[in-house]
Amino acid sequence: MQARYFLLLMILAGTTLQAQEQPPELHIGYFAPFGVQIGGSVAYTDVLKQPIGAHQWWWRAQAGYFAQPNVSDAVFLHPEVEYRRCRPGQYFYASSSIGSSLAYTLSKQEGTLNLASGTIDYQKEGSLYIIPRISLGIGVAPRKRLGGYLRASYGQQLGGDNGRQAFFSAAAGLAISMHSKP
């Protein structure tokens, strides 16, 4: 069920329905799950549907990394669809998006400390999670080349041995226009 949901979003996010007038954007930024974990992400963002007035629809394919220091490292893929409200001719927008991450986490469970050197040899365990999440954010579309974004997400981490866990994150970064405007 979770895998089917994820595949559906992948297909949805990977399909551009209309010819595009706005150039795609490359998003590069800081990604901080739970406000305290550290990470980064890069995303390709493109128009999903022709804008209608202030209403815009985009899709995004994101890849990233985050870590809980001394505990785990994770990589993730995150396709999502995004709605932006942006007045024609303006660059500032508010957005909401929905998507699902596929995350692989390598966790340190235990280790062996050498008392002479103070070094620890950790044993690690991998886990696969699906994290459907919704995001709210604001951003500035690239006027010429550079814009920016700020997003907060909430979701549920599914999979692993311990059932559902709430997942929230914050992200901020640069939006780089992938084509120069004529």
């Binding site: 505990v71 235990e110 062996t112 103070g118």
Partner: protein, 402 residues
């Protein structure tokens, strides 16, 4: 500013995340405990009062510097607030200090002996299931696993670590069952009078007894300690402390259970129930209770172990719908407030700024009396490694100023 003060200020300002940041940062930062760089030789004798973590660490260091020393302990066992039971479960249980509250490399720093080429197994203590019990409701907060982690010993305990690596080198210098009742530093040498009337003499004395012992004036000083110091000692709050371990037939509890709203529960850190077998190689279901201050007093005031376990099981039954009593096998209670030479948990709060209070207590008296202990580590108060750091610092002062 203490971590507790920082969290409180952050919360008052409506900022929740710094609390979690502080938890995270505290656990992930590596804290280096460097051996004091000592110059010159000290020829005299040192007596360390108290064979807890600070006293033992100081002894370990003095041994290394080839200083003549003796450790005097009031209780019939060394360890202070480190204590273990090896026969309750299929793994040793810490009845006192349990968690490694900083990077485990601190263990290597405490030993500072490159010739001890041994390995020690540790657990990344990252509880996966967390619940709160608040207003009669049990709620899941499993996301806490993403915010909090520390370390624990896998096959041993804090007591076991000292037992294996520190005490063997200094065991012949430890005298147990010798409560000191008077410290006379009015003359050139310091004279210690014990409860049995024995008089011991040293050039310098390092007092590592729990602050509660100094507060209760268990030890008389001649002349009296300076007022600034006694005032500072009185400004540290040390409440009750209790740990209970219960074995159950079945596992019905999460890795961690806190009481009250999630932010308040973790901010105060005064009472929680936890899976004591987390990460251990164990087939047993062992639940632990950690409680300090008023949360501990609720149990310690009951007087008897029978009343305490009855109260605790009743609480668990209310939370877990009767499963505790139905599944109960055995228990062990460690009431730290009832230990005559401990009398409580650990330093918790400071009436004045912590650094000011700590500096006043740390300040040597007449270049002959020195002080160390968990309460006197500004950055790592209430921890074993903080006690060791404080001992290292006191030894450095003692030998530098000689």
């Amino acid at each position: 500013m203490t971590r507790k003060a920082f969290i409180e200020k952050a919360l008052k300002a409506g900022i929740g995340l710094p609390f979690f940041s502080s938890l995270l940062l505290e656990s992930c930062n590596r804290y280096d405990l460097d051996l004091p760089d000592l110059h010159g030789a000290f020829e005299g004798k040192v007596i360390i009062v108290g064979a807890g973590a600070a006293g033992l660490a100081a002894g370990h260091l003095l041994q290394r510097y080839d200083v003549d020393f003796e450790i005097i302990e009031a209780a019939p066992v060394w360890g202070g607030r480190m204590k273990k039971t090896a026969d309750f479960a299929d793994f040793p249980i810490d009845l006192g200090a349990e968690w490694i509250h900083t990077h485990p490399a601190i263990l290597s720093d405490i030993l500072s002996s490159p010739d001890i080429d041994a390995d020690i197994d540790i657990i990344v203590y990252n509880p996966q299931t967390t619940q709160t019990w608040n207003n009669g409701r049990l709620r899941d907060h499993n996301y806490i696993s993403k915010l909090y982690s520390e370390w624990k010993f896998k096959h041993t305990t804090w007591f076991g670590f000292f037992e294996d690596y520190i005490v063997p080198g200094i065991e012949d210098r430890i005298t147990l069952n010798t409560p000191v009742v008077e410290v006379d530093y009015s003359m050139g040498k310091v004279q210690l009078k014990t409860e049995t009337g024995q008089v011991l003499e040293a050039d310098k004395v390092l007092l590592t007894v729990p602050l509660k012992i100094l507060q209760s004036e268990h030890i008389a000083f001649v002349p009296m300690l300076p007022k600034a110091k006694t005032d500072a000692i009185g400004q540290v709050s040390v409440g009750d402390g209790i740990k209970i371990f219960v074995e159950f037939q079945d596992r019905f509890y999460p890795d961690m259970l806190s009481f009250g709203p999630i932010l308040k529960a973790f901010r105060e850190e005064e009472k929680f129930v936890y899976n004591a077998a987390f990460g251990k190689e164990s087939s047993r279901h062992i639940l632990g209770l950690f409680a300090i201050n008023e949360k501990a007093t609720a149990y310690t005031q009951l007087g008897t172990d029978a009343a305490i376990i009855e109260q605790f099981l009743a609480e668990l039954d209310e939370i877990f719908e009767g499963q505790a009593s139905a599944s109960y096998v055995q228990h062990v209670i460690q009431n730290w407030s009832a230990e005559p030479y401990i009398q409580g948990a650990y330093s918790y709060d400071f009436e004045d700024r912590q650094w000011r209070v700590v500096e006043a207590i740390q300040e040597p008296v007449a270049d002959r009396l020195f002080f160390a202990g968990e309460a006197l580590s500004i950055d790592h108060q209430a921890t074993v490694h903080g006690a060791c750091a404080s001992a290292f610092d006191a030894v450095a002062r003692m030998l530098k100023e000689s």
